[in-house]
């Protein structure tokens, strides 16, 4: 993980990050980690396995669906995650919340 990134900030916005990545299409766990890293030039470099319980929680909440598929490498299957319609709505709401929050912080700065 980026050394300068506050872990609480990441934890508080993990759902938004995961849903945003999965908006592009179905992916499996390690692919999501790599995608986050590539798209943010390494800013989100979360290698830890904590991603998986978060994916399971979002699936449980109905925001994602998951499906095991055989891997082209053989061995254990890959588990793919897909954003649901409910997940898309949740993502839109989280984005709006984030924009409002960010805007409020900017306004605080401008009020000085």
């Amino acid at each position: 993980m980026n050394q300068n990134l506050d872990p609480n900030l990441l934890k508080g916005n993990l759902d938004l990050i995961l849903l945003t990545i999965l908006e592009e299409g179905e992916m499996y766990g390690l692919e999501i980690i790599q995608e986050a890293q590539i798209r943010t030039n390494g800013y989100f470099d979360f290698k830890e396995g904590s991603l998986y319980p978060a994916l399971h929680r979002l699936t449980q909440a109905g925001l994602l669906t998951s499906e095991f598929r055989e891997s082209d490498l053989g061995g254990p299957r890959r588990k793919y995650y897909t954003l649901t319609e409910k997940g898309q709505h949740s993502l839109s709401k989280k984005r709006n919340d984030w924009k409002q929050f960010s805007s409020a912080i900017d306004q605080l700065k401008g009020a000085k």
């Binding site: 290698k47 929680r57 449980q60 490498l73 061995g75 890959r78």
Partner: protein
């Protein structure tokens, strides 16, 4: 047991059934792909696996996170049950959960010494952490204890070493999760102790 198997077991402690197997499969797939990356960097397969496990982080932390998701799932299932089935069925479901959560047995493989004060009445949980880790107690710090059991008190017997060198049952004690210290009431003497399952 290989380091990979050990990691998968530790990362899914407190989870059971099909879900446990699926989590293990998902994590194993991830670990094997990370290992491939390390092999391409010149590490051996065994080294690659160890480095991959290191990247994934503390398996007990993972187990706790997965367990929290499972608890949330069960709460939802129970709420759903209350809404759609007769009360008799709900009671059955609750009973099933309760049985699944029953505290696992503690039987220590080795003895532990009680040193110092002859009338020692308190034994820090860390003292027997290795035994507790074999059952449902999954994480320890100096101040707190994490567990997958919902029982507030978990009972077992303490065995103390008699003069003959034989261990004998002396007291029943428990771990109170609100106060994670083994309460040992009036141990017969300074010496060695073992734990024995109460159930």
């Amino acid at each position: 047991m290989t380091p990979l198997e050990q990691y998968l077991n530790n990362a899914t402690r407190g989870i059971w059934g099909k879900r446990k197997l699926e989590i293990q499969e998902e994590l194993e797939r991830d670990i094997l792909e990370r290992t491939k990356k390390f092999e391409l960097m010149g590490f051996s397969r065994d080294q690659g696996i160890l480095k991959s496990l290191e990247e994934l982080g503390n398996p007990r932390k993972l187990a706790l996170d997965f367990w929290e998701v499972q608890m949330a799932m069960q709460k939802n299932l129970m709420l759903g049950s209350v809404m759609v089935v007769m009360s008799f069925s709900v009671v059955t479901w609750q009973a099933t959960i309760q049985r699944d959560y029953r505290f696992s047995c503690i039987n220590s493989d080795q003895s532990y010494s009680i040193e110092g004060n002859k009338t020692a009445t308190w034994l820090n949980v860390l003292f027997v952490a290795r035994e507790l880790e074999k059952v449902d107690f999954i994480d320890f710090t100096m101040e707190k204890i994490k567990t997958t059991t919902t029982e507030s008190k978990n009972y077992f017997f303490m065995l103390t070493e008699a003069d003959s060198g034989q261990f004998r049952t002396t007291i029943q004690t428990y771990i109170n999760l609100k106060n994670p210290i083994l309460m040992v009431q009036n141990p017969s003497a300074v010496g060695s102790i073992k734990m024995q399952c109460k159930w």
